[in-house]
Point group: C2
Chain length 371, copies 2
């Protein structure tokens, strides 16, 4: 008998949270884990050297975007995604379900798959569960995702039902056609409807995936709703397999979801907000351009040991943002990604020590949407 | 008697090139040396940690820009420029002469100084030699520059003569008013006119500055002309003091100028061209977006040991540029600055070994102006 890929090391006495090791062919991932997002193959503004130095074990990339550019052939001739990126640790790829939604004005979903035009050059493309599996297998990813249909929020219940129906059929086809060396995760949909989530979880779990994702969250619904869906759905997923909450969230969201039993996360917030000038800190979110930081000679976060906080003040970073220096978004992205990875370390340590109940999340700020 | 700040360690038998140590209160600078440009206080796209790791001993910043933003008071309250930037090694600041030229539609030069409006917000400012000295002293820079008038190219001879006349007067006032702890360098002007250069050099040298700069080059004149002016002017400057060629140039320009006896350089090329997608390599300049790099799995430079070349291929970097990923200009800037610093190391080593004559510069490519 082979060792299971997912091995639970410690359980939190106060919640379903657990610390575990997820073994992949590109190294072990300690969970709960945050995967920095490299949609197109780079974690924007953060060198891979830094990620390694900080103990980052896995990044997320995107099948849909990689299929469009650089394209399948180049990835194949490079010898797979790891070789193409120059990243030797684990890679999880989303299959494209979320992108199908976000490009909804240009796509047509049929029973067979999804037809869409790439926004950049209008090229006609077609993605089916079989192709999504073939691509991820060819890319050589460590964790592949089944192809799903991710309904937006708000959506008619009928629309969510239909997305669940097609996702369930595609989950079967994804499972059956998967020939990759990596793990394959199924995705639970169902929007904010408990009965649909329950039904989707049941059908997904039946397919014996290597892990399960909670999809269709962080698509525009209120934050409370994301947390409620997560708290409701996570326990429906087998506890001996990893649970992955897609596209969520703030440091506080991550802690709340860990307490619901989630193991894996990805989110664009640390890099996207970093580029926009928002920094995550132990005391809340800092919008660095604000006039009040003009003469603030303290670091972004007084306890942070990231390369930015070890060296630079808020006043300096504000200055760089105000003058529009290219380094400004880079430095905030570096801090934010470090902060997220460090936050997950603190969460893992607290689970290991049985002290998770006492861990307080940073207060949530009021970063304006799209600011 | 105190040790001289500039100590020559080795001389090239084939040219006026020399290897030396320039001592500052923030560490010793091995020359010939390239100073990465941090006009507004950051070397765009390159972390200070990286610069330190690569042995960079000094950066350049700009009095004119720092005076405008963040402004004198913030730098004062931070405890000087080093503290504000979080950079503990040497800093050289240009005084503003070059910026006065590049903002020429908005400035008025009088005997007293230069009146200008900051392009960002139209604030009226005034810079005199005395104020330029006061600011650089207050900033606590290691090498300060006299305030000069830098005529553009092309310019009427009369205009260059007038710039020389005012620069000479301002040099006297700069020298007399300098109270800083750092070194003060005078600047030779004179455009492409040998007699004016000679006269400016004589008057500058008479003032017993700690070092001398060749200014007013790289202002639009042909490359051959830059090299000719440098070759002509450098020997007019005392050989026991450091010589600094302002704002030049390509790796080949740097080698040619070292062979004329120049010790210090700064240039925006590695960062600016990096952001535009141009990389410097041992085999010439690479415009990474070019279709021919689409499947090129080799690094930018096969012999380069920078963090980018150790990990990434041209195909990957091209892909990031094509999709407009924020990491793309960052990664090319990292490579280019490393390449420049490494190139100077190779030059210093060759001088030390007496083999400079045999050192070949990378071929110069055809990077289109403003591309």
């Amino acid at each position: 008998m082979t060792e299971p890929a997912f091995r639970i090391l410690a359980r939190d006495p106060s919640s379903p949270a657990r610390a575990a090791i997820l073994t992949t062919s590109h190294g072990a991932i300690e969970t709960p884990c945050f995967l920095p997002v490299g949609t197109r193959g780079a974690v924007k503004g953060v060198e891979f050297d830094r990620l390694e130095e900080w103990g980052c074990r896995a990044i997320l990339s995107n099948t849909y975007h990689l299929m469009a550019r650089p394209g399948r052939e180049i990835l194949r001739s490079a010898g797979g995604l790891h070789a193409f990126l120059g990243w030797t640790r684990a890679i999880l790829t989303d299959s494209g379900g979320f992108q199908v939604m976000s490009l909804s004005s240009r796509r047509r979903i049929t029973e067979e798959g999804v037809e869409f035009r790439t926004p950049e050059d209008g090229t006609k493309n077609f993605l089916s569960p079989e192709l999504a599996m073939e691509l991820q297998s060819e890319f050589g990813v460590d964790i592949a995702m089944a192809l799903d249909v991710c309904p937006p929020f708000p959506a008619e219940r009928r629309e969510v039902e239909e997305a669940c129906r097609v996702s369930a059929a595609w989950a079967v086809r994804s499972r059956e056609s998967w020939r990759g060396a990596g793990l394959l995760f199924g995705i639970v949909q169902g929007g904010t409807h408990e009965d649909l989530r329950r039904e989707s979880a049941r059908r997904t779990v039946d397919l014996a995936f290597d892990g399960h994702a909670i999809g269709g969250v962080a698509v525009g619904e209120p934050k409370d709703s994301i947390r409620a869906v997560t708290a409701f759905t996570a326990p429906l997923l087998p506890e001996e397999k990893p649970r992955y909450l897609m596209g969520v969230g703030t440091p506080a969201d991550l802690l709340a979801s860990v307490r619901s039993g989630v193991d894996l996360f990805d989110c664009v917030l640390p890099t996207r907000h970093g580029r926009m000038g928002h920094a995550y800190t132990r005391t809340g979110e800092v919008t660095i351009k604000h006039h009040r930081f003009r003469e603030d000679l303290s670091p972004l976060d007084a306890e942070c040991s990231c390369p930015v906080c070890r060296r630079h003040s808020r006043a300096y970073l504000r200055h760089l943002f105000v003058v529009g220096d290219f380094s400004a978004p880079m430095l905030l992205s570096i801090h934010n990604v470090f902060f997220y990875l460090d936050w997950m370390k603190r969460i893992r340590r607290a689970i290991g020590e049985g002290s998770l109940a006492a861990l307080a999340a940073p207060p949530e700020g009021n970063i304006p949407e799209g600011a």
